[in-house]
Symmetry: none
DNA sequence: AATGAATGAGGCTTCATTCAT
DNA sequence: TATGAATGAAGCCTCATTCAT
């Protein structure tokens, strides 16, 4: 049930940690509570948070409307209960490596890192697609969410990725361009693939391996043709 | 008042057409109507469509609540009145060139095209930032919007950009990779810059010219280090 | 429409001030608003504030439930709108006399004062019976109400009545007992009559003049038998 | 644990009856039930019956919500269970004397009666303050309560006090004024003291003996100055 | 006996929309 | 054309009460 694997390897202990997270978040819930969460994820992602009526969630979850409020004091709290744990899990593969404070880059090349990163996060995004949609939709309007995202997710991921990037820059695998720009290029390209893959053309018959190859190659070598330089 | 210029050049006729669009949308409006639109843009982008009360729009627009419904039958119609024209203008630089059916690529190189494209759309996005935010937020939830976007914007832009891309592919300026991938790479990188620039770090002190140079270079040559250079 | 007269006299100017108060509070209301207030007074006094449903008020007032909230943001605000002005009018006869800062006791004897006071406040209580009931019921539970009552009503009335009492004490019309006790005796007896008259036995066939005579006499001479007679 | 003593004497048999009442109401209760009653008294008197949530009572009583409804079918029944016994005990000193049908006035003077009455009921009110507050608050809104109060309390007390009063009227200790008026004067003055003492100024440093002396004297001789003394 | 999860009716309040002026 | 009072459906949430454990 390791719904999330690590960027580098799929070592057993990491899966265990992942599962631990999942367990602490979901295992000790009652069936009704799980059903409420699932229904809420469904409807929030379909209609948006503000446009969703708690009565509809209740109906889809097959519980009384009042039951929702036994578990979550307000509708907003329900939103955060959905979104918070997922945000934590967004960054799991980035933080786990760091836990002993030693920089540990388990990749021989930036290319290897890129590929692992995209494969792993594509898998994660596929599994948590609806919740991610909710996060993206609501971050601009929920200060609590935005703050949590900035402090607990974005900054930690950046910190880690900056370290990795500079590691490979020193090894001469990357051109000498300001790190923020390199990050932007890399992340734009990766996210661009994920969004195209999952959001814009989900029904297209994708060959993920091939597309990821192309994307990695694009990031590393651009799309300029041979003759031009 | 040409708040939007063309990708390639700023020829007068194009400005004229742009203005025509503007006129037809704004010039024959009463001051109250304009004020309503401005207020609605403000509040929609700040709170989201569903979370916005028409009463708040009325208050900010300094009109009576009922006045809004003189001009727009429903709240949703008001949304579409804001978003529709902007979507048309999103694609202005792409469609204008094509009006006589002849393929007309007024750029000597893909690089030139890229630069013009990014500069131009950055300017556009800066000027229409709030509306674009609304479009992005509401497209997933408003079928009418999504349909209009798909048919009137995306497909037309793609059609045009595909033509341009294949034009330069034939000229050997681009590597032989499926056109959709090339489009994805290009658009991801460009949009990645726009979003970072305007949404994620708007307060940072950006040197646009330099960043655009880097971005264009990235797209064409990637970020691979020594081996390629 | 001077629904309230002064303790001492019914001079025209005082009536005018009374009416001014009334006008500023009620005259510029819409019929619906008045109807809401009347219905609320009715139901609040009958069922108590907490046990009253706004829907019932709306029904009795023949307006839509939403209309109530156009005039009063919350149910509690509606309560205060009912109770506040009446509390102001409770003390009207006490404060009016004082407006020039000069102690002005327009009574030749404590007996005259007592009689005027009881007559006047009986009339007031009769007219505002339901609202007074609401005030008494809700003062223990609504801090805002209690505070307003303590600061704007009770302290002002006491200040005035203390002055009057000490005035007659100096003239030898009252025994030399601490003023607070005298106040307590007087007010207990007067209020005791009002409550018995209006609340406990409203349907009894009262001879108000006679009862007030008895009450005043009791206050002044007690009910002791032989020694006084 | 005779928390209530008799007006006249503290004869043992009366205490026994008092305790019997207490036993039948409290001794055969489980600890949980007692805890529920205490919590309910607390919260009802603080927030009012309608504004009190049974969940809050359960929380304060440290029992589950459902437990309350094991003992009391409805919230209203819980109210009556609190208020009923206390109402019975309100009149204990009045009815006990009468049980053999013989008029038995164990006081030599009205003054003695008054003093005993006030002292005794002050003690009672002090001990049952919160419940009395609840009774007063809810009597206007609970027909069951009002009826019980009228039939079981008020009428019995009045009957007894009327007898006592006429007894002393015949002995010439009271002036010849209609008995209801005398009752009203007496009770108003006594209750006025109790309320001022416990409700309006509970934190004031009262000298109860002195105040009761003054009050009794007032009732008997009024507050008229020179002529009477 | 005791629990507390679950219910669903009903409470307060908001809000898009209408309509008489 | 513009207003804003009025509406009432619907939203979020509370709470007395039930019932399986």
């Amino acid at each position: 049930m390791a719904e999330d694997s690590t960027a580098g390897q799929n070592s057993a202990d990491e899966q265990w940690i992942e599962e631990l997270l999942s367990i602490s978040k979901e295992e000790k819930m009652t069936p009704k509570q799980i059903s409420i969460l699932q229904a809420a994820i469904e409807v929030f992602s379909e209609k948006g948070f503000s446009a969703t009526a708690t009565s509809e969630i209740a109906q889809k979850a097959q519980v009384a409307e009042g039951t929702i409020f036994r578990y979550y004091k307000t509708k907003k709290e329900l939103l955060l209960a959905i979104v918070g744990p997922t945000m934590s899990r967004m960054i799991a593969p980035f933080v786990l490596r760091n836990f002993n404070g030693v920089l540990d880059v388990p990749f021989d090349s930036y290319e290897e890192f890129l590929r692992a990163f995209i494969v792993n996060r594509l898998e994660f995004a596929r599994k948590n697609f609806k919740i991610i949609k909710i996060v993206i939709q609501e971050i601009p309007f929920q200060p609590a969410l935005r703050e949590q995202f900035m402090e607990n997710v974005l900054s930690k991921v950046l910190e880690r990725v900056v370290a990795i990037t500079e590691h490979f820059k020193e090894k001469g695998q990357l051109i000498d361009v300001p790190t923020p720009a390199i990050l932007r290029f890399t992340i734009s390209s990766a996210v661009g693939y994920l969004l195209t893959r999952l959001l814009l053309q989900p029904e297209k018959d994708w060959n993920d391996e091939e597309e990821i190859n192309l994307t990695v190659r694009f990031i590393l070598h651009g799309i300029g043709g041979s003759p031009s330089e």
